[in-house]
């Protein structure tokens, strides 16, 4: 590869040009004149007028948040959720740790152990929402569609660190029993026509 493009560090040539900026005032009088000019431009009243006009008209377009909330798209990436299996209502997460690995802001940590049935079990799982940038990689990489994003976007908290633990994210069992678990349609979900693209493995049964 040629390194010429990298070696030319003269950024004033080519597509770059200097903005036409007025010279800075050098003396006190010049500075005073600039302050007066900026203060009495009248732009302030343009904005005030818009507010006043809408107030008189009572034609309000804003939503009465927090009483009222906008519906959120199914692919919106807000606070994470842990899904359950439709077949058995058990947790989908197998503890593979891929979300922990892929997390670019390093906010997921997972502890696993062997459970009494000799299966891998997630003993603890946290996401530090203070660091999470909601990129969606965890949901995309998850092989079991277990961790997904949800619609909960209200993250205000009294401290920067805001930890989410496994139990917070897991679909409540009664929601599950009621069949009300929502599937995530964003990153990591099954794409349409997946069945047609899969190559079938022969079986000797």
């Amino acid at each position: 590869m040629s390194l010429e493009a990298f070696n030319n560090r003269n950024v004033t040539e080519g597509d770059y040009f200097l903005c036409d900026i007025e010279d800075y005032p050098q003396d006190g009088w010049g500075k005073f004149k600039r302050v007066v000019k900026r203060t009495f431009r009248g732009e302030l009243f343009v904005g005030l007028w818009v507010v006043m006009r809408e107030m008189i008209r009572f034609d309000i377009h804003t939503i009465q948040y927090p009483q009222e909330k906008m519906p959120i798209g199914p692919r919106y990436r807000a606070v994470h959720q842990m899904k359950r299996l439709w077949e058995s209502d058990t947790e989908r997460c197998i503890g593979c740790g891929l979300c922990e690995k892929i997390c670019i802001s390093d906010c997921i940590r997972i502890d696993t152990r062997i459970d009494e049935n000799s299966r891998k079990e997630v003993s603890e799982y946290t996401i530090n929402l203070g660091r999470c940038i909601f990129c969606g990689y965890c949901a995309e990489v998850c092989p079991e569609l277990a961790i997904t994003h949800g619609g909960e976007y209200e993250n205000a908290s009294e401290q920067r660190e805001h930890f989410l633990i496994y139990e917070d994210m897991l679909t409540p069992i009664d929601t599950m029993k009621a069949g009300k678990q929502l599937e995530f349609e964003g990153f990591g979900s099954i794409t349409p026509h997946e069945d047609e693209r899969v190559k079938k493995t022969p079986l000797a049964y």
Binding site: I94, E100, D111, K120, E144, K199, P202
Partner: protein, 828 residues
């Protein structure tokens, strides 16, 4: 073996005549896929994926030997097809549970499946029940197993336990229709694969071996895993710290795999120990004995002040050989500056032995090392309980026996079923304690160059020979002529008639014969069995290289000086090269660096040993010290190599260097002393940060540096004393550890759960009225102790073994130097 040039994929490659093509390619950075092959072991030929074309013929690179001018193509269209088919076969019925598999991506099945571009499956076979087995410290999941037999190979060719084998799988046969449509080798490989899984040789479902865990380390998939590590962590989360094992003198390359303890606890924790298993094999202590760190240490200023005061007051520093070269050097510097006595009886004995040895040999160090023993044909071990004193020496012996077509003799008073089980070509001589001298004389007698040997030794040796007449029964074949009546059809008449025919037959006949044979009294004294000479003659065929390993029994032997001189004579006048196995981790380093004193003075500082003021890495002393896995520094191994080790786990307390600095030394870190290690003793002026710690692709060990074997002035006096007729008889106790234990540090670890107590063989327990668990009192001339009996099936015979790994047992107090002593044992 001579250098030859072969051509691999158009690249001229220089290699040894007879080297396997795979190794030649690997040494020259040419990639040939291979799964079942283990460097240093014999080719298994299970995976068949290393197919290459040599001079137009398809061969397996792992067992085809290089010939001069050979032309090798690593990949042809047909080979590509074979390899893809092989990987497809391996993927048949392999569970898609990579997400929870403990191999976590460090998987050769995954790698080669992707490498061969397998994106669809063409083969199928009905699966059988392959539920997992808990084998104790290992967990086997046949579902994940690809039966490459690497575990079996490692156990047989390297470790020598022979605990694993292939057992029938009991599934369907591969459907005949595949024979026509599949590539040939892939079909053959599948046929074999579908018949077997891995099982235990002892027929039970629990492993009874020396628990080294090497089989799990070499497993290319997640089929064999350490039970303690199951589902604990993904490999990619672990940070690998290159280090050197600090348990024995083998100085094995290891890496500590560390990660934070848990979500709540960010403190680093060692999760497992890994090794470069192609070039180094660990023992159970190295593999599982990793969490002996001094975790609770803090900067206790009061204790530190007291320590500095104690150092000002003291006139002696007593220490053990579980210490880095740098700290040993620091102690030596303290001695030079403040006149401390340095006391380390165990290293002192070794040092004296080495000195006595070099007086005759003219070299500061012994001539060989364990790496060379691996490829030696004939090995003799004297004075070492090989499997527990230095497991790597045993692996070297076993590797030579099984792979290098070697043979050997094991001289030791304690009968060892593990050593006897290594191979048929190992001969064991169970002599009485104190007879090690006779064994060395026997070597001089059997292998010594009688023309060059000092005349008086030749004469002395000749005095043990006499002629005796024995009657042997020989089977010879004799010609016997018999008359037999046969029925024959007469051709002319067509009738059957009886004809008398003379037949000669060769009949074996036993003949008694009187023969005059040489009678070697040395053999009788040692208690070698009658067929010794006969077996030896058979075993000595085609042997070119010889090695002698001597061990710690000799260093404290009442006649250790004579033994050392005999060892040097064996080296000088026979074809044997010698390895003198240091008794503890850094005994060799300490004996080269420190001037050691015999007796303690009035006030002693004990470093990891008892004293008036104790510094302890076990956490039970007056001031805490870092354990070996919390230190950086170098360790000198039996291979005469100065190996670097790094900090695996953080340490919050004070260390020896802090005390030294308080006493007026100036070094920021203790590793500042690495460069100053004495060059006169063979060390190099190399800074710690410049020391590598890895293996090259061709197996070259790039770890630290090798000590220079400095020449010393040899005395012309080669005289040796005659052996004494003393031998211990009666109830004998022996100071040695059970398998997987070396010191208080191994005792501290959680995974090594050997019981402390008095170890008796099953055989002895059966024939005496002692039972496992009984509390007994052992009394010797030097002292007595009371402990419980532990049954041990890794030893045989009537010698009782007392371990040193439990500090509370204080078994050393029962012995006055020599590792064997007579004792009386009674039930309490």
């Amino acid at each position: 073996m001579s250098k030859i040039v072969i051509n691999i994929d158009g690249k001229e490659v220089e290699t040894q005549e007879g080297e396997y093509l795979l190794n030649a390619a690997r040494a020259n950075d040419i990639f040939i896929p291979a799964i079942c092959y283990l460097t240093r072991c014999s080719p298994t030929l299970a995976c068949r994926i290393c197919l290459v074309e040599a001079d137009g013929k398809q061969v397996y690179a792992c067992n085809a030997k290089a010939k001069d001018g050979m032309n090798i193509t690593t990949s042809t269209e047909n080979i590509q097809k074979e390899r893809r088919a092989i990987m497809e076969v391996y993927d048949v019925n392999h569970p898609l549970q990579c997400g929870v598999c403990d191999q976590s991506g460090e998987c050769e099945l995954q790698n080669y499946t992707l490498e061969m571009g397998v994106d669809s499956q063409s083969y199928a076979i009905k699966d059988v029940d392959r539920s997992s087995h808990d084998w104790g410290h290992l967990h086997y999941d046949p579902g994940l197993c690809i039966v490459c037999e690497r575990c079996v190979t490692a156990c047989k060719d390297m470790i020598g336990d022979n605990s694993l084998k292939t057992i029938p799988r009991g599934g369907d046969k591969v459907a005949d229709e595949f024979k026509a449509e599949m590539p040939k080798d892939a079909y053959a490989m599948w046929n074999k694969l579908s018949k077997s899984v891995i099982g235990l040789t002892n027929g039970t479902d629990v492993l009874d071996c020396t628990s080294c865990g090497e089989c799990a380390a070499v497993c290319p998939v997640g089929a064999l895993v350490d039970t303690h590590f199951m589902y604990k962590s993904n490999a990619w989360e672990l940070k690998q710290i290159p280090a050197t094992c600090g348990h024995c003198s083998a100085g094995c390359q290891i890496s500590y795999d560390v990660k934070h303890t848990s979500i709540q606890n960010p403190q680093e924790k060692i999760y497992r120990v890994m090794n470069e298993w192609n070039y180094v094999s660990l023992c159970g202590a190295g593999r599982y004995g990793f969490d002996y760190q001094n975790a609770t240490a803090t900067k206790d200023e009061a204790a530190f002040k007291a320590a500095v005061e104690a150092f000002k007051k003291a006139d002696t520093i007593a220490f053990t050989s579980t210490i880095t070269n740098e700290e040993a050097f620091l102690l030596q510097k303290m001695k030079e500056k403040y006149g401390y006595k340095l006391v380390n009886p165990e290293a002192k004995a070794f040092q004296t032995f080495l000195k006595d040895y070099s007086e005759v040999s003219g070299k500061k160090l012994y001539s060989s090392d364990l790496e060379r023993v691996h490829t030696t044909n004939f090995i003799v071990s004297i004075g070492s309980a090989l499997k527990t004193d230095n497991p790597n020496a045993r692996y070297a012996l076993n590797n030579s026996l099984t792979v290098s077509k070697g043979a050997g003799i094991y001289f030791h008073p304690v009968k060892d079923p593990i050593i006897e089980g290594l191979a048929k070509s190992i001969m064991t001589v169970t002599h009485a304690p104190l007879q090690e001298e006779i064994a060395l004389y026997l070597l001089l007698d059997l292998f010594g160059d009688k023309e060059k040997l000092p005349k008086d030794i030749v004469k002395y040796l000749a005095s043990f020979h006499s002629e005796k007449t024995i009657t042997v029964t020989e089977t010879i074949k004799e010609k016997v002529v018999e008359k037999v009546v046969e029925k024959k059809v007469n051709k002319e008449t067509g009738e059957e008639e009886e004809v008398e025919v003379e037949k000669t037959k060769m009949v074996p006949k036993k003949v008694k014969k009187e023969v005059v044979v040489d009678d070697n009294k040395l053999l009788t004294l040692l208690g070698a069995d009658e067929k010794f000479m006969e077996t030896l003659e058979k075993n000595l065929k085609k042997k070119e290289t010889f090695a002698l390993m001597v061990g710690p029994d000799l260093y404290n032997h009442p006649k250790s000086k004579n033994l050392a001189r005999l060892v040097a004579l064996v080296e000088k006048y026979t074809a044997f090269e010698t390895v003198i196995i240091p008794s503890l981790t850094n005994t060799l380093g300490v004996s080269l660096i420190c001037e050691l004193d015999d007796a303690r003075g009035e006030y002693t500082i004990g470093y990891n040993t008892d004293g008036d003021f104790t510094l302890s890495a076990l956490g039970d002393g007056d001031l805490d010290m870092p354990a070996m896995n919390q230190q950086e520094g170098t360790l000198t191994s039996v291979n005469k190599r100065v190996n670097p080790t790094n900090v695996a786990i953080g340490y919050n307390g004070y260390e020896l260097n802090d005390i030294a600095n308080a006493l007026g030394f100036e070094a920021q870190n203790v590793i500042d002393y690495t460069v100053e290690l004495p060059t006169a003793a063979g060390f190099k002026a190399e800074a710690f940060d410049n020391l590598p710690n890895h293996y090259e692709n061709d197996g070259t060990e790039m770890r630290g540096y090798v000590l220079e074997n400095v020449a010393v002035k040899a005395s012309d006096d080669e005289s040796v004393e005659k052996f004494s007729d003393d031998k211990l008889e009666g109830c004998i106790i022996y100071l040695a550890n059970p398998v997987r234990q070396f010191s208080s540090f191994t005792h501290k670890t959680t995974e090594l759960d050997e019981q402390s107590g008095i170890y008796m063989s099953e055989e002895y327990l059966a024939s005496s009225d002692f039972n496992e668990g009984d509390t007994v009192k052992v009394i010797t001339e030097s002292g007595s102790l009371t402990a419980n009996i532990v049954s041990d099936n890794k030893i045989q015979g009537s010698i009782v073994v007392l371990p040193t790994f439990d500090k509370n047992l204080n078994s050393e107090a029962l012995f006055s130097g020599y590792r064997f002593t007579v004792a009386s044992i009674e039930k309490v």
